[in-house]
């Protein structure tokens, strides 16, 4: 029996159409718009002005706090303006808009493709450089990685877990990255291990990526302390709490971070970015994005500069199909529906998913028949049906007692509910309100 996490879980149709498609480099667009808030934490502060010329990899916005990240120009050209532009959040966000002119990189960046195994920096330097390179979690949460790498005093980390699960249906960017940049990821892993001062790392990969498991296992033989763990296919295995549970059987307590159980989780893409930052001096300004969907002509994986309009990516995959009803940034379970295809790709964009009309709308909501399916699939052991009702009736105290804050927003409950209840919608509302109440209480 393959390992997996202990509670709940679902297995949606995988639909990995773009699996095995080589990573293509997307042509540089004529204009990019780079939001200053692409990560969890404080938005960065722009350090360029209208009319400035920038090079690829030049810093254009600086981290504005501990939990924040630098942003580097993904292209070379002129800053056209700094203005509010619609982004994936559905609201207008301050963004730096750059008109592209050529492709001139900062000289410090090593553009060679050769593998560099030798880690020269010290742990502290690695963390610092990760921060400078603006690396944030590419697994979706876009949490600034250097923060995670700075283990708080009093806590110890004894294991690094790499998230190569990619449990979201449709998405294949991590998969393809592991196939093509396996060695780099492993070196990146060693860098992270060094930064965290641990001697063990596990790369968790779901069993629907047998080729990646095989490939990585073979490569990992040469690297000390790194093991590959094949995992049973089950959503949301990629959730870090679930992944830790699946790989090493530890449960992160309610409201605590993984470090509580001595683990740090990083996405494989993040690890690759760390490799590039440390060994090649290349900050984070491009990433692999999967473009896919049932009716997409050429689903594929594209190395894309941050700030590229989603439209361009879709063009590269064969254009937008006639019957598209929904464009999702990310996977179908956790991704965000985009209000328009004009929004830019950001550091957190792991995929663009086009849904045909018939799959774009939800079924009619009926009343809860107490079938308990949502309860049985919830990976956190919550009672989604109750949380939704409590939220609708604004009974916040009870919601808190029922641990609404534990919800990882995986959406398994909404996915499974036969009555099509918008469980997660209301649970999010509840999390927001309860979180606010809790904060005001602690004040």
């Amino acid at each position: 029996m393959l390992k997996t996490f202990s509670l709940g879980g679902i297995h949606p149709e995988e639909n990995k159409f773009s699996a095995g498609k080589k990573i293509e480099v997307l042509p540089i667009p004529t204009q990019v718009s780079v939001p200053i808030a692409q990560h969890i934490g404080a938005p960065s502060t722009p350090v360029v002005e209208r009319g400035d010329s920038v090079k690829v990899g030049q810093i254009i916005a600086k981290s504005s706090g501990f939990v924040s990240a630098n942003i580097h120009s993904p292209v070379s050209g002129k800053v056209f303006k700094i203005d509010k532009v619609l982004d994936a959040s559905g609201y207008k966000q301050m963004s730096i808009i750059i008109k592209v002119d050529g492709d001139e990189w900062e000289e410090s960046i090593d553009r060679s493709t050769s593998l560099n195994r030798e880690i020269t920096l010290s742990a502290e330097e690695i963390v610092k450089k990760t921060g400078e390179a603006g690396i944030v979690g590419l697994g979706g949460a876009t949490f600034p990685s250097h923060v995670k790498l700075s283990v708080p005093p009093g806590k110890t980390c004894d294991i690094l877990i790499l998230n190569g699960v990619e449990c979201e249906p449709y998405l294949t960017s991590d998969h393809q990255l592991m196939m093509e940049k396996g060695e780099e990821i492993l070196v990146g892993t060693q860098i992270l291990m060094k930064a965290l001062k641990v001697d063990k790392a596990i790369i968790g990969i779901e069993n629907n990526k047998k080729d990646a498991i095989e490939h990585m296992t073979k490569l990992a033989e040469q690297y000390k302390g790194i093991t590959i763990q094949a995992l049973k296919v089950q959503y949301p295995q990629g959730g870090e709490k679930q992944l830790i549970d699946a790989c090493i059987g530890r449960e992160v307590p309610s409201g605590k971070l993984p470090i509580e159980v001595g683990a740090v989780v990083q996405n494989v893409g993040t690890t690759f970015a760390v490799y590039e930052a440390i060994q090649k001096n290349k900050p984070l300004f491009e990433r692999v994005v999967t473009v896919t969907g049932k009716s997409v002509k050429n689903p594929g994986n594209f190395m894309t500069r941050v700030g590229t309009p989603v439209k361009d990516l879709i063009e590269a995959a064969g254009g937008i199909p006639e019957n598209t009803g929904k464009v999702i940034g990310g996977g179908p379970m956790m991704g965000k529906a985009l209000a328009s295809a004009d929004v830019p790709v950001t550091k957190g964009s792991s995929g663009i998913l086009l849904m045909p009309d018939e799959l774009s709308t939800r079924g009619k909501t009926e009343s809860c028949i107490r079938c308990s399916k949502c309860v049985s699939v919830c990976p956190m052991g919550l009672l989604p049906y109750l949380l939704m009702t409590l939220s609708q009736k604004a009974i916040w105290e009870r919601s808190e007692e029922e641990r609404v804050m534990d919800c990882i927003e995986c959406g398994s409950c909404s996915y499974t509910c036969p009555s099509n209840r918008p469980l997660l919608d209301y649970i999010r509302l509840s999390k927001g309100t309860v979180g606010q109440i809790m904060r005001s209480r602690n004040k």
């Binding site: 509010k84 619609l86 959040s89 559905g90 609201y91 207008k92 965000k336 529906a337 209000a339 328009s340 774009s360 709308t361 939800r362 909501t365 918008p422 919608d425 209301y426 999010r428 509302l429 927001g432």
Partner: protein, 344 residues
Amino acid sequence: MNVVLITIITLSALGALAAIILYFVAQKFKVFEDPRIDQVEEVLPAANCGGCGFPGCRAFAEALVKSDDITNLNCPVGGADTMQAAAKIVGKEVGTAAPMVAVVRCNGSCENRPRTNSYDGAENCTIAATLYGGETGCTYGCLGLGECVDACNFDAMYMNEKTGLPVVIEDNCVACGACVEACPKDIMQLRNIGPKSRRIFVSCVNEDKGGPAKKACSVACIGCGKCEKVCAFDAIVIKNNLAYIDYEKCKLCRKCVTVCPTNAIHEINFPVRKPKPPVEKKLVGKVEEGTVKTPTPKPATELKAESPKPAAKVEKAETSVKKDRVVEKKDDSTPEKKDKPESK
């Protein structure tokens, strides 16, 4: 022994026992509750809506009795009369809070604001608001999912299905503020009812610059500043590309209404020659229309009928021309001088 005698003895003994116990109870439990609390509670409307800031009318009554200074306490539901009555009981001075009413500060009806997306999630404005800016290009305006209507305990709001916007039934609104609290977009606001229920406000909260704002919604405030300039009382300020009329300063001269290029400023209950309070208006709805200086642009689709709960049905009342204190339906109640033709 004589039954009667035994009966008397038995009962008397019991009676004595009860008396003694009671006596001690009385000693121990001297709880004095100010009787005025009850009296005050009597005069309060018993709506228990929390509009006063206290959980329930009784709590408010207690506060009235107990606080030394009650000038800043107010029961919006009962209004001045109630407060006067209560003040008399407790022998204190009440503040003279001007009566308020809720207004909807968005006029982005379906025609005014073309849809660019369609929403398919939980029917709840707050949830929708966390997800996106709205189904239209305006990320500030009303989402139209009616959370404010749900919040209102007084049947004072309904969603106009034609416009997709909420409507306040002025006669029912007690200014409890529940809708204001509920709206995640800050569309709802409590404002002075104003003399004869007349008031002027900017029915827009869009902070985008003129171009995008106008593109997203034909009646958006574009922050052009014309109204600010024309106002003789400094009642209008423009901040973040958005005009705001301070109701305390506004003298209802209506100059701003006429200068606004997008008809974003609404005037309510301004028949030209209205000799009587609004009630009268209903009767003369038609006439009034004629008399309004600036003809009401659209037929009163939503003019609220005075009927207390016209709720769901109202939108059908195309024919009902009575306009009355129904408040602000954006369309009808905007007697802007020129406006777009009756679209609908």
